[in-house]
Amino acid sequence: MLGTTILLALREIRRHILRSILTTLGIIIGVAAVVTMVTLGNGVTASVQEEISSLGASNFIVFPVRTTRGTIRPFDEDDVRAVEQQIAGVKLAAGSVGASTTAFNNGQDWDTRVQGVNNAFFEAQSIDIEDGRAFSTDEEAGGKNVCLLGTKVREAIFLPTVSPVGSQMRLGDVSCQVIGLVEERGQGGGGSDDDDTVYMPLKTVQRRFRGNDNLDYFVVKYDAAYAAPVIQDSLVGLLRERRLLQGEEPNDFNVIDTAQVNQALGAATGALTAMVAVIASISLLVGGIGIMNIMLVSVTERTREIGIRLAIGALAREVRLQFLTEAVVLCALGGLAGIALAFVASFGLASAIDVPFVFDPVINIVSFMFAASMGIVFGYYPASRASKLDPIDALRHE
């Protein structure tokens, strides 16, 4: 019975194809707007998150700041180990120190920076090694002259056809052996370009380039299952203690939570999406009224048909179901058209504004269901009017 009713509805819609398209335009546009916005919003979020993940997800970045007395008290490896060992929920902590330098090889020179890190830093920042290997324990502990190259450094001073792994090169007046290449990362956080960087063991850079045991900053990777504010509180507490800061004395260091940066950006895209949802819901409301209008016209046009159906024994609810089905099918088709339009639009716009196209099945299904349920809301009154017609009057209707 329902199958027959749906086929009947499709046939009725096909008979008035132009009218049906014009009627559902409001729904098509409303659904398309919502789905497109959410899809693009997801794309923006994804691309921002990709950017942020170069800072590492669920990471704190800790660095010293100038105090009111104008001095900077840097952190060292003892602080890093203390954090790692004494704070619950911390997976690992890793320091970093950098210096400007020039890389030489094969008669080429390239101004770049050297960054002193240990393997733990690669892990915290999700930096992958593409070719070769990471540092060995010996190399880290002994501050050996080995290095990993970013893609830009490699392109600048090595031949593209031969792997530089194993070759000897020079950084300033330090000679080093290339043991691996780091994957391309794009613009990293903090203004530095991860690709235009040479990585050496932390101890090597401290000794050979900086001449002390200081760190520029360190990263703390925490277990996402723990509450970030709690970890941050104990982190700040521990560091204050180690730096002998008393009661009211302000922190002479700063802790940034990358997850918070994430949330702030998520909130911004969320607000934009909500605004579009409001505009789209107006379009949908107008569309729904259009559906009601056209269904009332249809009921009037088909009064005789309704009379015939009632005379041969259709129940009021069967007539109501027929018209309700027609409204729902019409709205559902509008919803499908809207989704199709959104697919094309968001695909095109995503590549235009250079964000990834992230297909979100939930918003597509929800929009479709919403469109179909609009058929019930706005089709109910016309359908119920059809079902209440008097068969004798309806049969006499010209």
Partner: protein, 238 residues
């Protein structure tokens, strides 16, 4: 099924409107129709014959009186119960044919079976049989617009027959047809009646009424006269 008459009207009245504008269309109609009868209902406009037919077709309810159909008091039933009664026991043929436009003859005939919830294959089969019965089998795929008036009325009759009803109600079935087509339709109705179906037909043409076995004449909202055994005349007309 009780042993009583198929249809029994007792003191049926029907008033349209209220107060000063009220109009009494039926003023106490008594009528009994037995199974297998072919009844022609006649009378001038406004005599109450159409109102009576609407009540007999369970499309309308009387203001007063008792209408028993198969022993059931129809005036006590609600709208949906009367729909079920029509679906189950009644077939309708109208003056204006009242077929669904842009819908094939076969689908028109299938329609009552859709509401009976019959499966598609069974509907097809029954509808084809009904169309064959009215001699329109080869026209099954044609829409009303592609059929002549006589053919359209045959489709309407097939639609009324497809549910194998107890009673066929025909409201001026030949009113829109020329005399040759009219005679064909009447002969078809006669044949169906001979096969056992009870037929109630409204007409204002004496020569059409002559095909019926019983003629009920209405005047001023009352049954004026009932003439039974008119069939012999019809036989000679045919």
């Amino acid at each position: 099924m009780t042993g009583g008459p198929l249809i029994q009207l007792e003191g049926i009245t029907k008033t349209f409107g209220t107060g000063a504008a009220a109009f009494q269309a039926l003023k106490g109609v008594d009528l009994t129709i037995s199974r297998g009868e072919f009844v022609a209902v006649m009378g001038p406009s406004g005599s109450g014959k159409s109102t009576t037919m609407n009540i007999l077709g369970c499309l309308d309810v009387p203001t007063g009186g008792v209408f028993r159909f198969r022993g059931v008091e129809v005036q006590k039933l609600d709208r949906d119960q009367r729909s079920l009664l029509r679906r189950r026991y009644l077939g309708f043929v109208f003056q204006g044919f009242n077929l669904l436009a842009r819908t094939t003859a076969l689908e028109n005939v299938e329609l009552p079976l859709v509401y009976r919830g019959e499966a598609k294959a069974a509907r097809r089969k029954a509808a084809m049989r009904a169309l064959d019965q009215v001699g329109l089998g080869p026209w099954a795929d044609h829409t009303p617009a592609e059929l002549s008036g006589g053919q359209q009325q045959r489709v309407a009759i097939a639609r009324a027959l497809v549910t194998e009803p107890d009673v066929l109600l025909a409201d001026e079935p030949t009113g829109n047809l020329d005399s040759e087509r009219s005679v064909e339709i009447m002969l078809l109705l006669r044949q169906l009646n001979a096969e056992g179906i009870t037929i109630l037909m409204v007409t204002h043409e004496e020569d059409m009424a002559a095909y019926a076995g019983t003629i009920v004449r209405f005047r001023d909202g009352l049954v004026e006269r009932i003439e039974r055994g008119t069939l012999a005349t019809a036989e000679s007309l045919a």
